[in-house]
């Protein structure tokens, strides 16, 4: 594989960039694979990469209905963090932070990981107490957390509304300085390029239409491009999880909802890190291009539409304006939607299933992007070893029946409220 570097860039400049190798091939599906991963998003591509790299399983195919990186990995707001309170979530995502820190070098692809910090704002004493507790939990798990008072927040985001008339005054906030953002497309492309180089077949525009299950054991899948035999099959399909589960006669603790995000026109740098509003559901960061990247609530009803409605955008941005009045002067550049696999406790599922050789990776709610590397890493382990890794030992499907929920936000089973 051609290595990407400043020298290869200069070299290719002389031939007007016409002679770059293709980053990944477009193979015809073989009739049989050791492992088939369904879903060519970030998690599926990362899983295939770690299967090949960590477990030397290279006879692997990724089956993607559309094109790689066309789903949620290309639609998220690129935030990476590990500011979780529960041990299982904190350990899992902090392991992921370590993978992020070295990802550009490892993939030889600049994913532009930028640890610029995230601030969760508090607007009451009770919220400050809750953040102090969460911060302490994080620090006990080795994650950096800093409780900021009002003045410290003001130094970091002076453009927020600190006036006396404001309805929800800023009391302070909880900061994770090592959190940040990355270029989401590059993550998908970087994993795809390396996986392809190690022998993984990336098969795009190929829809899974059914499964071959004989005596409780997976034998293969049926697709729009023919039947493919497989010893093991991993599901990594986020918002389409319920559709495939139905073909397997499985019912899951998952509902699919649409989440919208939006960006403003680009402006000069003014917001360094990620900021979340604590009195409504609104978060914001500024991209390297200068656009303000914003998001918030789900539209609030079951949907597979990958697009939402205006009332939700208005509602989210009302919160945004309460926090940052300057946003009223910006034009909106575009809005879009993605479909979220909302689990009933807000935490993901990476597990085996009752069908031998079938593995499940779902329930990412709207927080899947930050976990892309660690999700792929643990899912690859679960598939290769046929057992869960310590890191995903609490992210199991049966936690709903045993009562070991990871309800980080304590919202109950009304997934659309989250």
């Amino acid at each position: 594989m051609q290595k990407y570097s400043v020298f290869s860039l200069i070299k290719n400049a002389f031939s007007n960039h016409q002679n770059w190798e293709v980053a990944w091939k477009d193979p015809t599906p073989k009739s049989e694979y050791d492992v088939v991963i369904i879903g060519g998003g970030g998690h599926g591509l990362a899983t295939a990469y770690y299967l090949a790299k960590e477990h030397n399983i290279r006879n692997v195919a990724i089956i993607e209905k559309g094109w790689i990186g066309g789903g949620n990995v290309g639609r998220n707001t690129t935030i990476i963090r590990s500011n979780f309170m529960y041990d299982a979530n904190a350990r899992f995502n902090e392991f992921g932070m370590d993978l992020w820190r070295n990802l550009s070098q490892e993939l030889n692809f600049n994913v532009m990981f930028s640890p610029r910090g995230i601030i969760n704002l508090a607007h009451s004493d009770a919220q400050m107490n809750a953040y102090a507790r969460r911060g302490n939990s994080m620090r006990l798990n080795g994650i950096d957390a800093k409780l900021l008072d009002r003045d410290e927040v003001k130094k970091l985001i002076p453009m927020a509304d600190f006036s006396d008339e404001v309805r929800f005054p800023i009391f302070g906030g909880l900061m994770q300085p090592s959190a940040g953002t990355a270029r989401h497309d590059a993550v998908a492309w970087g994993y795809a390029r390396q996986a392809d180089d190690m022998g993984v077949d990336i098969i795009q525009h190929c829809e899974v239409t059914g499964f071959d299950v004989v005596n409780g054991k997976i034998k293969g899948i049926r697709t729009s491009r023919g039947d493919i035999k497989a010893k093991k099959v991993g599901l990594c399909v986020a918002g389409s999880t319920n559709i495939l589960a139905e073909k397997l006669n499985m019912t899951l603790p998952i509902e699919t909802h649409v989440l919208q995000a939006c960006v403003s026109e680009p402006v000069k740098p003014l917001l360094d890190g990620v900021v979340t509003f604590g009195a409504g559901h609104f978060y914001i960061s500024q991209s390297d291009k200068g656009e303000m990247v914003m998001g918030g609530d789900l539209d609030g009803y079951n949907s597979y539409a990958q697009r939402g409605n205006l009332p939700t955008i208005q509602h989210v941005l009302t919160g945004g304006l309460a926090l940052f009045p300057f946003l009223s002067r910006l034009k909106m550049l575009r809005t879009w939607g993605g479909i979220m696999d909302m689990s009933m406790d807000g935490s993901p599922i990476i597990d085996k299933t009752h069908i031998e050789g079938l593995y499940l990776n779902c329930g990412w709610c709207y927080g899947g992007f930050k976990s892309t590397p660690v999700s792929g890493w643990t899912f690859a382990h679960t598939i290769a070893q046929d057992q869960v890794h310590e890191l995903n030992s609490e992210l199991r499907l049966n936690r709903f029946s045993t009562g070991h929920l990871l309800d980080e936000k304590g919202l109950g089973t009304k997934t659309w409220i989250g």
Partner: protein, 89 residues
């Protein structure tokens, strides 16, 4: 914007309503032995189909009644609405 026809008030904007989830989920009967599996299915398991979905909405900024809505989850088209006591076919 969705427009939902409340069976009591007529056609109103989505902003007047609040969502209540899958209307086909049935609570296990009271005063009967309920297995753990039945409780799991009731509390956590959802079909979440792509296509026609019968769901509960509350006309919270109107008559405050709970209603049933049959809606397409892929196109957001609304086919039918009914009172909660009525069946949607």
């Amino acid at each position: 914007m969705l427009y939902i026809k409340c069976p009591y008030c007529g056609l109103r904007a989505q902003k007047e309503f609040s969502y209540g989830g899958d209307a086909t989920v049935k609570r296990p009967n009271i005063n009967e032995e309920v297995s753990s599996e039945d409780w799991d299915n009731f509390v956590y398991m959802r079909k979440s189909p792509r296509g026609k979905h019968v769901e509960l909405w509350q006309h919270i900024a109107g008559c405050r009644q709970w209603i049933k809505v049959q809606r397409d989850t892929a196109t957001h088209e609304i086919f039918q609405t009914a009172k909660v006591t009525e069946e949607i076919r």
